[in-house]
């Protein structure tokens, strides 16, 4: 082979030099230790806090939202007539200082806080409050779709056009400081429901100016108006500044005209990083000051690395769903009871869930009104389970057991492992399992609701501490995902849940719910309650005053950094 020398100055030599130089430059750049800090170090007050969020907000008008990512922003920008006491699920005054109801629970008078202004300078007063109620009630077209105004439809039912009955009747301005809200019946959810972000007070001026109600169903999706995408205007301690969609960053700024204690931070940024591992690494690399929903497996390591891991009170429940529709054996209470006794729930919680998780005795956590402390705990006993199966003639029981892939939920951090533990327990008592796995959005939820599974893993994160939001949601309609209609008590249970919901007397209502909770677990067992799992958030050491809320309603206004 002829030998060609690389003489000085040859093109190739230049090419080589350029190539190697580029790589070297890049490597050098990588080695240039730069001081990267997500915000200015603003001492005790001021500065910028950047918090890693798990999802993108759908839009910024909370009335049309259902997703936690939107509500996290809403809780900083907006306030409702009713709020929740920091760190609890108990309703308390926010923009309304007090309220009282007629004895039948149908008429409510709210006294409003004075001297409150929206971010655009509009006064918050009785007229503005009623404007909001009337706006919700008078939705038209796509705005009435349950997937658009989901929280209204879930809690109040229909709209002004009367196509479906509505809990809401009217809102009347009594004087500048008082409004009267009339309902068509009593409801256990009212007035606490007004503490949900969806029912925040929004500026009438801004809503009119930017066509807040102009939602259109087009093609395969909904088009939301400018108000919802760019101009949300509330009374909260932070105002909306910008959503940089290319960078996945939402920027809020302190509202200096806030009526209460003003926010300590100058700026509050939420950086959307969907992947949990990526959020952790962003915190470790100093890109962000904290993030939401660390994987339970990471808690210990994060703590030893000097971060604060702050668990919230669990406001969720995970259950083993049982669908009675297609498998006649599951319509026998003894078989369902056997399934519940076969599962070692203590062990499940200890081995698969974060350290402060608890075994569920019923389908709601302790802090929900109507929780019954005296429900008999489900006993773990494989022997009794086998005996019960034999007694029911189901010793050779065969069931389809479904679990979801491609998902983690606050109540179910690792579906596959949880499934594995439960499956082993069930096989241990001789139950034959046909295992089905589907992606969460790839058929799992849809087909569970079409009653295709016999056993399945699912759960719920509550919106508020009314029992109607829990057992009412699960069993309040007999054609539910458990198909309780198959059982003689299914329709009756749904009726009694409704009756409890419309009981105006609070003490009486609580008693009814406690009894229902007892019966559901001790006599019906439409599903097996498994656990309550506390979702946490993580913060750098120097971030202070972020009080964990069971409703994930943390308020960032008192937070300081540095």
């Amino acid at each position: 082979m002829p030998k060609i020398d690389m003489t000085r100055g040859s093109t190739l030599r230049k090419l080589t030099i350029v190539g190697v130089a580029s790589i070297t430059a890049l490597s050098l750049a990588a080695c240039a230790q730069s001081q990267r800090d997500p915000g200015n170090q603003g001492g005790k007050t001021g500065g910028t806090l950047t918090f890693g969020a798990e999802g993108k907000p759908k839009l910024f008008d909370p009335f049309y939202a259902t997703d936690g990512a939107t509500f996290r922003i809403s809780r900083q920008v907006f306030e409702g007539l009713v709020g929740f006491k920091p760190g609890s699920a108990e309703a308390g005054p926010e923009l309304a200082t007090k309220w009282e109801s007629s004895t039948d629970g149908k008429s409510w008078t709210f006294t409003l806080k004075q001297g409150v202004k929206f971010h655009d300078g509009t006064d918050f007063n009785a007229e503005a409050a009623c404007f909001n109620f009337n706006r919700w009630y008078n939705q038209k077209g796509a705005g009435q779709s349950s997937s658009v105004s989901e929280y209204w439809v879930d809690n109040f039912g229909g709209f002004a056009d009367g196509a479906k009955p509505s809990l809401f009747k009217s809102c009347t301005v009594k004087d500048a400081q008082n409004i009267v809200v009339e309902l068509t019946g009593a409801s256990s959810k009212f007035p606490d429901v007004l503490g949900l972000p969806s029912f925040s007070m929004q500026s009438p001026t801004a809503m009119q100016k930017y066509n807040a109600d102009n939602v259109v169903a087009q093609g395969e999706s909904f088009i939301f108006p400018e108000y919802a995408m760019k101009q949300p205007t509330g009374t909260g301690p932070f105002k909306f500044v910008n959503y940089d969609t290319t960078n996945n960053l939402i920027e809020l700024g302190r509202f200096d005209g806030y009526h209460g204690d003003k926010a300590k931070l100058d700026k509050l940024n939420f950086k959307v990083i969907a992947d949990e591992t990526a959020r952790k690494q962003a915190l470790q690399s100093g890109d962000i000051d904290g993030y939401d929903y660390p994987a339970p497996a990471d808690w210990a390591k994060l703590k030893t690395d000097g971060f604060q891991v702050v668990p919230r009170d669990a406001f969720n429940v995970m259950y083993l769903g049982i669908t009675q529709k297609n498998n006649a054996k599951l319509q026998d209470f003894r078989v369902r009871k056997a399934i519940s006794m076969a599962i070692n729930r203590e062990q499940l919680v200890k081995s698969q869930l974060p350290e402060t998780a608890t075994v569920a005795t019923q389908f709601m956590p302790k802090i929900v009104q109507g929780y019954n402390p005296n429900v008999k705990p489900i006993e773990y006993s494989p022997e009794k389970a086998k005996a019960l199966l034999a007694e029911a003639g189901a010793s050779n029981l065969e069931v389809n057991f479904w679990w979801p892939s491609e998902v983690t939920r606050p109540y179910m951090p690792n579906p596959q492992d949880i499934f594995g533990a439960i499956a082993a327990d069930l096989r241990n008592v001789g139950i034959k399992l046909n295992v089905v796995t589907k992606p969460w959005n790839g058929g799992y939820l849809t087909e569970i609701d079409q009653a295709k599974a016999d056993l399945f893993l699912l759960g719920w994160t509550g919106d508020q501490s009314a029992a109607a939001n829990w057992i009412g949601t699960f069993f309040g309609n007999a054609e539910n995902r458990f198909y309780t209609k198959s059982s003689p008590w299914g329709e009756d249970l749904a009726k009694r849940l409704d009756a409890a919901d419309v009981t105006a007397d609070k003490a009486q209502r609580e008693k009814l719910y406690q009894e229902l909770n007892r019966q559901i677990v001790e006599e019906y067992l439409p599903a097996v309650p498994l656990s309550h799992s506390p979702p946490a958030f993580v913060l750098k050491k120097d971030v202070k005053n972020l009080t964990p809320s069971p409703l994930t309603a943390e308020e960032f206004s008192p937070v300081t950094k540095g």
Partner: protein, 335 residues
């Protein structure tokens, strides 16, 4: 040349048309769908039915397709359902396209700048340690999954050493945006902090994304140069007394570049696949991240736009490669 170009362009239109139909049917044949993603565990059978009807997903596939085609011809490709709710699929594409282009450009430049010279040098030193190390290195480069490499790079340089950011495209969102290419925007507006910050965010993903194309370009260059060096015309050129430099430039490199150009074209197309994984690891808000998220949430409108455009780019890049071939080698035109 013109006739050849026109013929190839017509082929492109046909390919994209057939692909859009297949894609449309395939997406809707996947289990689940956007309705599940939108409603989550809050959904009931009733609310799912209502939303399915509202989105027109309960109609026969061919009806949906013709409606989609009708809207698409007027430029409406639908609105994102899950990736970036409320943004039209086209806007989402335009918003994220610069990110992926910037990243892919950096990666392919890196791969070319390192691959060609090193490949040439390895060929020149055939069988020596430099060549052996290069060959082994390129084998590893092809074999290591991009996802894994991205993860390792991120862990070492972002998490442990904290030299570089671990996620995103830019920290400073007050930077002026002109074209959407952040580095370029920073240069034309003179905001050097923003330029530097964008570059910092680009370094790790570019390196991760560049490994496979680098390894392939290295190997093809090496093989092509070895082939050419043995050719008679090289020996003839040398015996004519031409300087080594002229021989290298005019005879060796030019002839060895043909397969390399093809490779660069194909690798550019293949970068998209790598970009999906790289962007996911670095939460880099480009098309790849949108594609991954789009599948997770069954966001039909976004997936349709992304995949159709990706196919167009792929076919178009191939066309460019063939055309440049025709320019370099006149024999191609007459085939």
């Amino acid at each position: 040349m013109l006739r050849y170009t026109v013929r190839r362009l017509l082929q492109l239109v046909l390919v994209v048309g057939v692909l859009s139909l297949l894609l449309f049917a395939w997406l809707r044949s996947l289990p689940g769908g956007p309705v599940s993603a939108l409603l989550g565990e809050r959904g009931t059978e009733e609310s799912r039915r209502e939303l399915t009807a509202l989105l027109g997903l309960d109609q026969p596939i061919y009806v949906q397709y013709f409606k989609f085609l009708g809207r698409a011809l007027s430029g409406d490709f639908g609105t994102s359902l899950g990736v970036q709710p409320g943004t039209t699929a086209v806007d989402l594409f335009l918003e994220r396209f610069p990110a992926t282009l910037e990243l892919s450009f950096c990666a392919i430049v890196l791969a070319i700048a390192a691959g060609i010279p090193l490949g040439y040098l390895a060929a020149r030193r055939r069988g020596r340690w430099f060549d052996n190390a290069g060959v082994i290195g390129s084998l590893i480069g092809v074999a290591v999954p991009v996802f894994f490499l991205a993860f390792v790079l991120k862990h070492i340089f972002a998490v442990e050493l904290q030299w570089l950011p671990s996620a995103g495209r830019q920290d400073d969102i007050s930077a002026t945006r002109v074209t959407g290419f952040y580095v370029f925007d920073g240069i034309i507006t003179g905001e050097w902090d923003a330029v530097w910050n964008s570059l910092e965010h680009l370094i790790l993903p570019s390196i991760a994304l560049a490994t496979i194309p680098f390894a392939v370009i290295f190997r093809i260059t090496r093989a092509a140069v070895l082939d050419v060096l043995d050719e008679d015309y090289v020996r003839t050129a040398e015996s004519k007394g031409l300087t080594a430099q002229v021989v290298r430039r005019r005879h060796v490199l030019r002839n060895a570049m043909l397969p390399v150009v093809t490779t660069i074209g194909l690798q550019t197309g293949a970068l998209l696949a790598g970009a999906v994984l790289t962007e996911k690891v670095f939460s880099f808000p480009g098309l790849g991240e949108a594609l991954a998220l789009g599948f997770e949430r069954r966001d039909y409108p976004v997936l349709q736009v992304l995949i159709i455009v990706a196919a167009m780019v792929y076919v178009f890049v191939n066309l460019l490669v063939d055309l440049s071939y025709a320019l370099i080698d006149p024999r191609v035109r007459t085939r």
